[in-house]
């Protein structure tokens, strides 16, 4: 089961566009079925199997529910496995990232809670546009370099989103 494709575990065909709410519902259903508690009295072999299935299911869910992780996984299963740690040279995009980080720093220095709202809006819009672009090109072998570039950009924006959430928490305190 560990070797089964993440999508197959959810009876889905590989695709970038996913209904995340439906995925979450499906995950909870499936997770119940392999929950270790249900196998407390079962033979050891079955217990171990349930544990493995539960871990595989969790890994699949964590991968599919995150846009950058799902994107990287799709590239991998379509024959373009790319390393996790690499250096990206994407000057225009990185310059914009740096500007966004500077803005975020300013919001933090000024404890500008209201300023976070429009910042988040822009981030969301940028993420949506990256995801549209990726959905339109990942399964075209001629465009896999572009697809990887878009996936890397998603990774940066995902991280930026985490920073925004952390800042919100700090300012809420």
């Amino acid at each position: 089961m560990g070797t089964l494709c993440h999508y197959a575990l959810f009876d889905l065909k590989p695709a970038f566009r996913l209904d995340l709410e439906q995925l979450a519902v499906r995950y909870r259903e499936l997770a119940r079925g392999v929950h270790p508690d249900r196998f407390a009295d079962a033979p050891e072999r079955e217990q171990r199997q349930a544990l493995e299935q539960s871990a595989a299911l969790n890994e699949a869910y964590q991968t599919l529910k995150s846009a950058p992780r799902r994107a990287r996984y799709l590239l991998a299963i379509s024959g373009h496995e790319v390393p996790q740690e690499i250096t990206v040279q994407d000057p225009v995009f990185l310059l914009q990232q740096m500007q966004w980080r500077e803005e975020l720093e300013e919001l933090q220095e000024n404890a500008d809670i209201d300023g976070i709202v429009p910042f988040k809006k822009r981030l969301k819009a940028a993420q949506a546009s990256l995801e549209d672009d990726f959905a339109g090109c990942w399964d075209n072998p001629a465009e896999h370099e572009q697809a990887e570039r878009l996936m890397r950009r998603m990774q940066f924006l995902d991280k930026l989103g985490q920073e925004v959430r952390q800042l919100e928490e700090r300012l809420d305190d």
């Binding site: 996790q84 990206v88 990185l94 890397r152 990774q155």
Partner: protein
């Protein structure tokens, strides 16, 4: 994770933080990023007629090890020729900062930033 004393020193007192004028023909800019951790690093050098790096600045958004690696890189580059600076290896940065294995990629990012800055300078000067 515990940072080494040298990383903490560079993190708390980073050397050469700032920016140089990108449009200055004697300035080379290297902009690199590590997508998995979201780190963004800009390293800039100002080079004189003899090919010696007179000034170096960096701006890094990332973890302590990434900041320390870029800070140390600018320190080492100053006073070197661009040819010498290009030979700085990530392993030297990592050793000096006593980076743990999981943070080696931060020193790789700094080495890549050095190379990108030198390449940008050469491109501007028509040396490539």
């Amino acid at each position: 994770m515990a940072y080494s004393e040298k990383v903490i020193d560079h993190y708390e007192n980073p050397r050469n933080v700032g920016k140089l004028d990108k449009n200055d023909p004697t300035v080379g800019t290297g902009m690199v990023g590590a997508p998995a951790c979201g780190d963004v690093m800009q390293l800039q050098i100002k080079v004189n007629d003899l090919g010696v790096i007179e000034d170096a600045k960096f701006k890094t958004y990332g973890c302590g090890s990434a900041i320390a690696s870029s800070s140390l890189a600018t320190e080492w580059m100053k006073g070197k020729t661009i040819d010498e600076a290009e030979t700085i290896k990530n392993t030297q940065l990592a050793e000096e900062l006593a980076l743990p294995p999981v943070k080696i990629h931060c020193s790789v990012l700094a080495e890549d930033a050095i190379k990108a800055a030198v390449r940008d300078y050469r491109q501007k000067k028509g040396l490539l």
